[in-house]
Amino acid sequence: MQIIYILWQRQLKRYLRSKSRVIGSLAQPLFFLLALGAGFGPVFSKAGQGNYIEFLVPGIISMTIIFTSIFAGMEIIWDKQFGFLKETLVAPVSRLNIMIGRTLGGATIATMQGTLVLFLSLIAGFRPVSWALVPVAILVMFLSSLLFTALGTAIASKLDDMQGFQMIMNFLVMPLFFLSGAIFPLDRATILGTIASFDPLSYTVDALRHILTNTHFFTLAWDVSILAILTALFLAIGSYFFSKVQI
């Protein structure tokens, strides 16, 4: 337990000390929110879809979650390169505990980040339908953060350089984001609607949209079930791959 706690705390300290990382990971969603909001807002309401900012905010929170968590999961590559991973791997502790501590740390950071973006979006005029449901939204954020941190860990356990990292960002995270319905409405009649149902992030977006704005594409129960199942799956895969890491 103490081991999980100290590794969790390490992730948090590293994150909070890196001011550029905190600011950078807030600036990007804020920029997306303002640019897309201003750009597509008028078209969106002309098409009879309502308020675009309201539509966009859950999507941008989801974007923050996926970027931050995958990045946190993939920090293992840094630790491999700059050595700290060896220090944990020769210690008399189980790899599962190391993996859990790291994953909880990454997920906590991503959840904090997502929550901050939610509050920042108030400036852009966003209002959740019910304040009482905000904690529920935060729980969904945490579940999704666990999912994507575990995914990042699984991938990073198999990679050993930063080029691989760039590839994953470009060819996995970006598509997951754009295809999730985070920035445009899904439509079952189109191929995009079908593709989105294979994208885990779609369920994060949909659940948050349901909780914060009371609109949805799937049902909340379905979203949360899928997220929970995928989280369990990725945690298992991530732990397995991490247990096989050799230096």
Binding site: Q2, I3, I6, L7, R10, K13, R14, R17, S18, Q81, F82, G83, F84, K86, E87, T88, L89, V90, A91, P92, V93, D160, D161, M162, Q246, I247
Partner: protein, 264 residues
Amino acid sequence: MSIIEVKNLTKKFGDFTAVKDVSFSVEKGGIFAFLGPNGAGKSTTIKMLTTLLTPTSGELFIDGHDVKKNPREVRHSFGIVFQDPSLDDELTAYENMEIHGVLYHVKKEILKERIKQLLEFVELWDRKNSLVKEFSGGMKRRLEIARGLLHHPKVLFLDEPTLGLDPQTRNHMWKYLSELNKTEGITVFFTTHYMEEAERIADQIAIIDHGSIVASGNVEQLKTSTGTSSLEEAFLKLTGRNIRDEDVSKTDAMRMRHQAWSRK
């Protein structure tokens, strides 16, 4: 009595054999130097002894524990300073020590006292709250040694601990280590490319080349058997004068790129 036993150890990476049928043992309380040219297989052997790599075949024992079967006991019994840095740069010296203490289940009451003692020992106590990234190479090395000793290991592995350090720091470091070896009876297992260092400090030596042990014994025995007057000459006689074409590993390439970036 020997505290480290290695029997017929082999490690293959694909079809390349990095360590070939190596056997040796290290006396308890001794200072053992493991010497060899670049790429000889020293670090690979240390990684297998310290549970980081699985051997292709062979047996390893530390303090009577089978490294393959009881990694947990084995991990409690050694401390290590790796060839490459392994500190968390974004944390302070104290925090690095603290994490280590928790990972090795050192009791909270004891931990504080021991961290203080060790940081004073390596003369870093007044810098305990500085981030490690602000440290010089020598300070980092000293911190790694202090950290490796925190859980009172029976064996301390040091893979090129003095690489890149100035003579002052090197002397200092060996002074600490000999002192520890004498007072605490810690067995020291180290590698180095400075032959005079090994000659001065080690009481047992093994020389490895191309993955096989080519000679072992104490300094006198090595000099006599090769008919030379210094360890360096004996080493060159045993391993030849050719320079090893050591390939830059992915890790090194990566590290260089990172340095290039962070230097700006």
